[in-house]
């Protein structure tokens, strides 16, 4: 493992340009990737990620893991891994293109996609309720939760369709400092 860690992964430069992460950060991520990949398969499977104890106790574990395995894939290679994590690079103070993965817009889209499981570009009442259910203790009665979800939907839904599109969502969270909340300083 020690010798393998010293070798840079292929395509490092291109990946660095694409994701905006520095080559040093990418090297560290590569080491982490290899550490997570327990059977040395060369790619990650969902079980590898789920084996992390801290992540297992996270209410959103499945969804977070799902972000790394889009569209039913069972393997995640290193570029995919790095691309997802690039969303969490702190954007402040660093040069970032408006369309890059760590721009506030794409961070928001990442969060939006956590809600929107069926990928239709809208957060429906049911999806909101599902997420809420995940994050709340078991003793909350369903009716209270449903009321909360309904209220949240009504607050943000400006078009009156009963679902949230991406613009509605962006407007709802504009007061929050998304960049700070979704930045991991280690990735700078």
């Amino acid at each position: 493992m020690g010798a393998a860690a010293a070798r840079p992964p292929p395509g490092l430069g291109a990946l660095s340009d694409e994701t905006g992460l520095s080559p040093a950060a990418l090297m560290r991520l590569h080491e982490r990737f290899q550490a997570l990949d327990r059977d040395d398969k060369g790619h990650l499977s969902p079980a590898d990620l789920q084996a992390l104890e801290g992540l297992a106790l996270n209410p959103l574990c499945e969804r977070i893991v799902g972000a790394f395995f889009p569209a039913g894939a069972q393997r995640a290679d290193f570029p995919t891994f790095a691309r997802v994590l690039a969303h969490f690079r702190p954007a402040e103070g660093a040069p970032c293109e408006p369309g890059g993965p760590s721009s506030p817009g794409s961070k928001l889209r990442f969060v939006f996609e956590l809600y929107d499981l069926d990928g239709d570009g809208q957060i429906s009442y049911r999806e909101l309720l599902q997420v809420l259910r995940l994050m709340v203790g078991l003793e909350v009665p369903d009716e209270a939760l449903a009321a909360v979800a309904a209220r949240a939907l009504r607050e943000a839904d400006r078009s009156g369709r009963g679902t949230l599109c991406f613009e509605d969502f962006a407007k709802a969270v504009e007061r929050l400092d998304v960049d700070r909340r979704m930045s991991i300083w280690m990735l700078k």
Partner: protein, 793 residues
């Protein structure tokens, strides 16, 4: 999160909750009454004392058979009182009880713990006891001497700090912590000592008889910091992990270093002709410092390994496991003291080494016992020290000198700030993640003094220090000042330096999304892992796994950490919770439909508030990366409950998806996933069952390949009788569930209404997971599925 909570509390104090306010006031009154009741006997006890003999001869039992009240001396007394026999234990017990009552009262009024550290309460109680003793003119006030302090009062505090220290952040920041503690203590001691010596030279203050050595000694005593009180206040604000660790590590090593310095200076003072101290002596002093420090650590590590090894064999007599832990730690302290090596550092090293292996080896009950007993002992020790402090405050052994005391206070503050900024400036150059000015400000302000500096002052030998009272007074003043004034203001300071929150109320949307993002960030941080000192830790981990764990840890341990997680969580609690959830779900599922129709109505502000309240109280907490430590309390248990719920729910949803053959959130049919399905439905996953399904759960940092879960037959025979017994127990509730569930409209929505009704059937699963054998699961399935099938819709 807090602003909505606060406003909702205010709004809640209307009519329906007037009762609870009254109740709180009644509680406070009750507590005050109780306190008074306790105080009166102790006062009575003290005032009676001068009249009684303080002999230690065993007293005779009063004779109940004879005549009442004979007054002649030669006769048998019916009622005799002999307080002297029990004086010391009785007084000590009363103090401890008094302090406990005060702590209860302190926590009853929930605002207080946020405002001030608990040490404040203890000091007040100590002063109260001191006032009582002083007021009743107690003839023999309790005295703390060197042996009592160093042999009985100090070890529990040190052990507790060492045991509850979070090891990973400590070792990651080890060099910084070491640099800061050692050099900080040295800098502070010498700085304060030399400055005070300079002040003493000024004739006008009347301090010229304090020579350099005495001042240096005083400097080393007063620089003993006890920031644990500050750490308790930090819980409210989101202090980052490194900062937390620096302060914690400092308090850990500071005691040891201060005592070492203290002893060295006392030894110097005892060399009578101190004018003849040559450079060789100073060099010897330095060398001794290192020998004492490192020797202590070495001792501690050896004892730690020995005790970990012992606990490997105690599975038949688990009642002595806590005993082993405590006795070995204490032994490490004592044997280090024999050789004049730092017992404090020995005990700390012992606790740190021992903890990891002992926790794997001991039974669940022993684990809990060790934790609680340690907290209890250290709490008692600290209480007693503060009582002594209070007693000597309201005593006659004071000498006030404005110049000395004011300058002491001033120099303490100045030198701490100086040492922080100087040392951190240098260490920042070598750190990957430097400390900001804000962090340094917080560290310099959190230099609260505590019990240890007072104790060291109190134990100064009078023959060497004719002006001991002056030192005691100065120490007391500094302690009171730092604990009360700095302790109370550090909370607001940290909150002010922290992110400035907007004052506007967050909407419900924002609350939900914020919480989601926090969880997301915590999850991604877990995936990224920790990046400092990777290789060294990796090497240590390999060495540890290859040699140490084999020697020190018992065999037949479940190798996955998820299973040990289940062990640690109380499974019984999970079942109880599921049962209560089942009862409430029957009411809620029926009204779910009607609730959806209610959507179109306008919601009143009160309802919005109540929603916000629901969210505030019930949203899961984000996993904190920064550790939290409190000397007087174990970490709250709510996290365990949350963890259980999350794991249970996940199992349930996995089970649901397997049953339906649905795609899991990350896509792909369930059968090809390498995920453990803890309960297999009859139909869908059957072909998949034959594949070898292995799940390995490791903890964050280990990279060993041996944690693959063995699919063996070994546990099966042992678990079978258990299985039969449990199955019979559970068939009954499942059948009961059947009837109740018949009415409810169980739709296919995952994790909503089906959630709680199913959890009871699901709840039984964790008990079986220790074995994890596929055949085992399938057998259990065929039996269980029969009654459960109606639920499967």
């Amino acid at each position: 999160m807090h602003p909505p909570n606060a406003t909702s509390v205010i709004e809640e104090s209307h009519a329906p909750d007037m009762g609870s306010l009254v109740l709180t006031r009644a509680n406070l009154l009750n507590w005050l009454l109780l306190l008074l009741i306790l105080v009166c006997p102790s006062a009575a006890v003290y005032s009676d004392e001068p009249n009684l003999s303080s002999s230690f001869l065993p007293h005779y039992e009063p004779d109940h058979g004879g005549a009442v009240g004979s007054s002649q001396d030669g006769r048998l007394h019916v009622f005799t009182v002999d307080y002297g026999y029990v004086q010391i234990p009785c007084e000590v017990t009363l103090w401890i009880l008094l302090a406990s009552l005060a702590k209860i009262g302190f926590h009853l009024y929930h605002r207080l713990p946020r405002l001030m550290p608990e040490s404040c309460v203890l000091i007040v109680i100590g002063a109260l006891v001191g006032a009582i003793i002083f007021g009743t003119d107690h003839k023999s006030p309790p005295v703390m001497n060197t042996s009592i302090y160093f042999l009985y009062l100090l070890p529990p505090i040190v052990l507790e700090e060492g045991y509850f220290m979070p090891t990973r952040p400590f070792f990651e920041n080890f060099v910084s912590i070491l640099w800061w503690s050692v050099l900080g203590s040295l800098l502070n001691s010498f700085g304060i000592g030399l400055s005070l010596y300079g002040v003493c030279q000024i004739e006008a203050f009347g301090l010229t008889d304090l020579n350099l050595l005495q001042n240096l000694l005083f400097g080393s005593m007063i620089s003993a910091v006890d920031p644990v009180a500050a750490l308790e206040v930090f819980e409210e604000a989101s202090v980052n992990e490194q900062l937390y660790m620096m302060i914690f590590g400092e308090s850990l090593l500071n005691d040891g270093i201060t005592v070492v310095l203290y002893n060295i200076f006392i030894a110097f003072t005892q060399m009578h002709r101190y004018e003849e101290i040559e450079s060789i002596d100073i060099l010897a002093g330095f060398a001794r410092f290192f020998v004492v420090g490192l020797g202590g650590v070495l001792f501690g590590i050896i004892f730690g390994f020995v005790s970990a090894f012992m606990t490997r064999f105690t599975h038949n007599i688990s009642a002595i496991e806590p005993l082993l832990v405590f006795m070995f730690s204490y032994l490490s302290y004592l044997s280090a003291e024999i050789l004049y090596i730092s017992g404090i550092l020995a005990m700390t090293a012992c606790a740190v080494t021992m903890k990891k292996y002992v926790e794997e080896n001991v039974s669940q009950n022993s684990y809990t016992t060790i934790k609680y007993f340690m907290k209890m002992l250290s709490s008692v020790s600290e209480t007693l020290i503060f009582v002594f402090m209070g007693v000597s405050t309201v005593g006659k052994n004071h000498e006030w000198n404005w110049a000395f005391i004011c300058f002491t206070l001033l120099f303490c503050l100045i030198w701490r700030a100086l040492s922080v900024f100087a040392l951190f400036y240098i260490s920042n150059k070598f750190r990957t993640y430097p400390f900001t000015v804000k962090d340094q400000l917080i560290i310099s302000y959190s230099g609260l003094r505590g019990a240890s500096s007072f104790s060291l002052a109190f134990l100064l030998p009078v023959n060497l220090f004719p002006r001991k009272n002056l030192f005691i007074t100065a120490t007391l003043v500094v302690t009171y000042f730092t604990v009360f004034i700095q302790g109370i203001t550090i909370g607001p300071l940290v909150r002010y330096l922290d992110v400035k929150k907007t004052n506007k109320k967050e909407s419900i949307n924002e609350e939900i999304h914020v919480r989601l993002m926090d969880h997301l960030k915590a999850g991604i941080e877990d995936i990224c892992g920790h990046w400092s000192h990777y290789q060294l830790r990796d090497k240590f981990k390999k060495f540890d796994n290859k040699y140490l764990k084999k020697i020190l840890i018992r065999e037949h341990q479940p190798k996955s950490s998820i299973v040990s997680l289940y062990k640690k969580l109380e499974i019984k609690l999970a079942i109880e919770m599921a049962e209560s959830g089942m009862i409430s779900s029957t009411a809620s599922t029926a009204s779910l439909q009607s609730c959806r129709n209610r959507r179109v109505h306008r919601l009143s502000p009160a309802e919005v508030e109540s929603m916000r309240d629901v969210l505030a109280h019930n949203l899961y907490q984000v996993r904190q990366r920064a550790p939290s430590y409190s000397r007087h309390n174990l970490p709250r248990d709510t996290n365990e409950k949350q963890a259980q719920e999350i794991l249970i729910r996940r199992q349930h949803s996995l089970r649901q998806s397997c049953r339906k053959g649905n795609s899991l959130p990350w896509g792909g049919p369930a059968s090809t996933m390498g995920v453990r399905c803890l309960s297999l439905p009859h139909g869908y996953c059957q072909p998949a069952r034959r594949k070898a399904r292995r799940v390995t759960f490791t903890d964050n940092y280990s990279s060993d390949s041996e944690s693959v879960f063995p699919v063996t037959f070994r546990p099966q025979p042992r678990l079978r009788p258990l299985e039969v017994k449990h199955r019979q127990e559970e068939l009954i509730p499942v059948a009961r569930l059947d009837r109740l569930a018949g009415q409810s409209n169980l739709s296919g929505r995952r994790g909503n209404s089906v959630n709680r009704v199913d959890t009871l059937a699901l709840m039984t699963k964790p008990r079986f997971t220790v074995g994890e054998v596929e055949e085992y699961e399938s057998e259990e399935e065929t039996e269980m599925m029969a009654p459960a099938r109606p639920l499967a819709r």
